[in-house]
Amino acid sequence: MHRFSSRLKVAAFGVAVAAVAAVSLGMASSDGVLGAANAKATQTVACTPNGTLRYGLAGGGVTSLDPSVGGLASRTVIMPLLFPALTALNPDGTVRPDLATKWKVSPDGKTWWFYLRRDVKYANGRPFTSADVVANILHDLDPKTGALVRTYINDVRSVRAITKYEVRFKTGSPRANLADALYLAKMADLSNMATLATSGNGTGPYKVAGYVPNQVLTLVPNPYYFGPKPCLKKISIISEPDTTSMVTAFTSNNLDMIWQFPVTAASTIQSDKNATIIVPKTVATAHVLLVDTTSAPFDNVLARQALSYAIDRNAMVKASFLGHAQASVANDPLSTTNPAYNKKLPAQTFNLAKAKQLFTQAGVKPGTSFTYWAQAGKRPEWITNGEILQQDLAKIGITLNIVQADPATWLARFDPHGKKYPGLIVASFLSLQPNPLLGLGSALNGCDCNWGNVPGTKYDQYNSLVLKALGQSDPVKLQASYDQLQVLFNQQAPYQVIAHQTNLSAAQKKVVGAWEDPSGNMHLESARLAH
């Protein structure tokens, strides 16, 4: 199998991110100066640290304090608390200055300068300088690190400390706003690599006071933090064995906040007058079905379209998500709440007759079997979705065998990217970045659907559209590019979007200031306990 040029793919993806961000923030003026002035700020409110916040996770806690590597999504809550970046994310998905106070870009868009705060220290008292920025970026860019952020900054060709508080980036292609991607590049203390995963030494508002992996992480205010004092005396991030015990602990007031609770508990929590459900302003996460677009039969676009028409999304939202999700109308990575959503996309509503017709055209005859591959235990809604799909496919003569596997077995069957899994329909969950091109770029970047691994497919056209979008500064033309990308995604269906749903989180009413970003990650930087 010939792999499509990953460098071009990733470079284009990274540029796309910055391009869209630039549009949303406002493009550079002619002298190349971009402003902190354009960015909205969500600063912590100055206060005296008070009280302990008990934050509950289920089915997997904090297993490592190394901010670079992937692993469980439950770790994302600690990132802004321990490891700020040059920029920080706002609730609406834009970025604001953080460790960098301002930045500027050259007219050709290939050179960026970031100017750092001068009063930043790590939690152990060591000053933070441009050398740390360089070390962290190089560490993230190293392919052997496996850093998730590498995808978004992979076109950075060099990073250099100009002075103690000035860093220069050079990119291989024009970047509209590198700042938008750099919020993902967390600044850890790399002076002692042996303790990177265990120390959690960062420059954030909190520092690590106690850590038992997969059990409890205790944070207390960082005395060296450059910003306003955080409002909590202690944050305990507690791992519960499963969602049931987590919800029980919350309803019996043994936890103040919980993240990613099951939809079946929503009514219980809603009826609790002391609790509130936290939702983000926009949703950039989705439940999807992945197929291998390089193996039969789903290497045929007709088979993928057929599958899309066979999915009764409304029934799934009702039965699995109890209404706490938004059914995808046109199989689009962007939710309808995204400002860039193409409202003219042709709908792919449930239609078994059409599904059967398309399957037949694709050579998928009645009597064919597929395997529905889901996780055991953690996502019961996936099983319900699978049962609905199984019943519907049976009506057109296709057998769907539902297989549940433990998370590691489930993941290893179709990951890492490039692995073939013919005949499998994988239930999965995608947590995308807030801006539109990131959502669309997930297909570009290499979902586990292998789209883009074979040259000569419509993926090339998709990639060309992205490259075209990169150069667009005109918002109207840029939106036209987004529209074309969504149309192509709708036609090619590299994966199936069932519904857009964010992680359901809840807090006792005494907890204020916490918020969830569009990717479903919780932010506690501004959290405090109301009296």
Partner: protein, 321 residues
């Protein structure tokens, strides 16, 4: 006696070695890969070189024989490696969780013995059919009902309805003895039911066997009261067969009671093992399983040796042999 002890020790070491090989091989047969669990699963494509580098760092690119020798060599030196994920030494992770498991095991064993031994003894003394029926019923229910069902029933009654005791969590005895006792009662009683039932079954059977022995009739003939006969002559002899069961129970308790720890959200060795299974953290998992096997083997060995001490007949037979 010395030969008997030596033979048992050598057998135990052999069993431990075989267990280590079995554990090592079986773990690697399970589907899943720790490098994928650690690096993969995101929407971004991780460079294949990252997987290669991680496999090299964890030693997973070496031959299985090399990996086994490296691991077992470390075990013999007291170095059990590092978690693939948290990078904490495995011994540190075990120490952090062992307290909870030990407290639970001790409390469960204490309550279990407190339930079973007096009840069986009273049954032997009193010989009341209604009391015997109660004991039989308890034994049947205790042995047939899964531990998690007992646990959930206790949670509903004492935690939810009566709100007398906490239903989850752990407080170490050193930090707060009273709170520690409160958090351990329900899980300990849950386990104690599962412990007491088989002990009671064996003990009652054994008491009945011993009670019909000629020397017991002699004791009765000498004018001793029934309770004196039971306590001085029947019970000590009847306890010996139950020791084997107790040895097995101690071994399984110290290995970590996974189900009960999960039901009561109590962090212990059992939940550490489950987390390691989910993540395919071979370093932690193989050490924990080896530890559980070792505890089991050692407790069986100690019980066997205790037999020789408690039962003079075994000492005589050994000398004659």
């Amino acid at each position: 006696m010395a030969i008997y002890v030596l033979r048992r020790v050598v057998t135990s070491i052999g069993l431990l070695f075989l267990s280590s090989v079995l554990i090592f091989v079986v773990l690697r047969l399970i589907p899943g890969d720790p490098t994928i669990t650690k690096l993969g699963g995101g929407m971004t494509a991780v460079d294949p070189r990252a997987f290669q580098a991680l496999r090299h760092q964890l030693g997973l690119d070496r031959s299985l024989t090399h990996q086994y020798v490296h691991w077992i060599g470390g075990v013999l030196r007291g170095d059990f490696g590092q978690s693939y994920f948290s990078q904490f030494p495995v011994t540190t992770l075990i120490k952090e969780r062992a307290g909870s498991t030990l407290e639970l095991a001790a409390a469960a064993l204490f309550i279990g013995l407190l339930l079973s031994v007096p009840a069986a003894t009273i049954g032997a003394i009193w010989r009341n059919r209604y009391f015997d029926a109660v004991l039989s019923g308890f034994t049947a229910v205790g042995m047939s009902t899964p531990a998690f069902v007992n646990g959930l029933v206790l949670i509903v009654i004492f935690g939810v309805k009566l709100k007398l005791l906490p239903t989850q969590g752990y407080v170490s005895f050193q930090n707060h003895p009273l709170e520690s006792l409160k958090t351990v009662i329900l899980p300990a009683v849950t386990l104690a039911i599962a412990i007491a039932a088989p002990i009671m079954l064996i003990l009652r059977s054994s008491l009945a066997d011993v009670a019909s022995a000629p020397y017991i009739r002699t004791a009765q003939g000498k004018g001793l009261l029934r309770y004196q006969v039971v306590l001085r002559h029947v019970l000590p002899n009847a306890t010996i067969p139950a020791l084997t069961m107790i040895g097995v129970i101690i071994g399984s308790l110290l290995g970590g009671s996974v189900i009960v720890e999960y039901v009561f959200a109590r962090p212990g060795l059992g939940s550490l093992m489950v987390d390691a299974i989910y993540q395919r953290d071979y370093a932690v998992l193989q050490t924990l399983v080896l530890l559980a096997a070792g505890v089991f083997i050692i407790s069986s060995l100690l019980i066997d040796l205790l037999y020789g001490v408690l039962d003079p007949r075994l000492r005589v037979r050994g000398q004659e042999a």
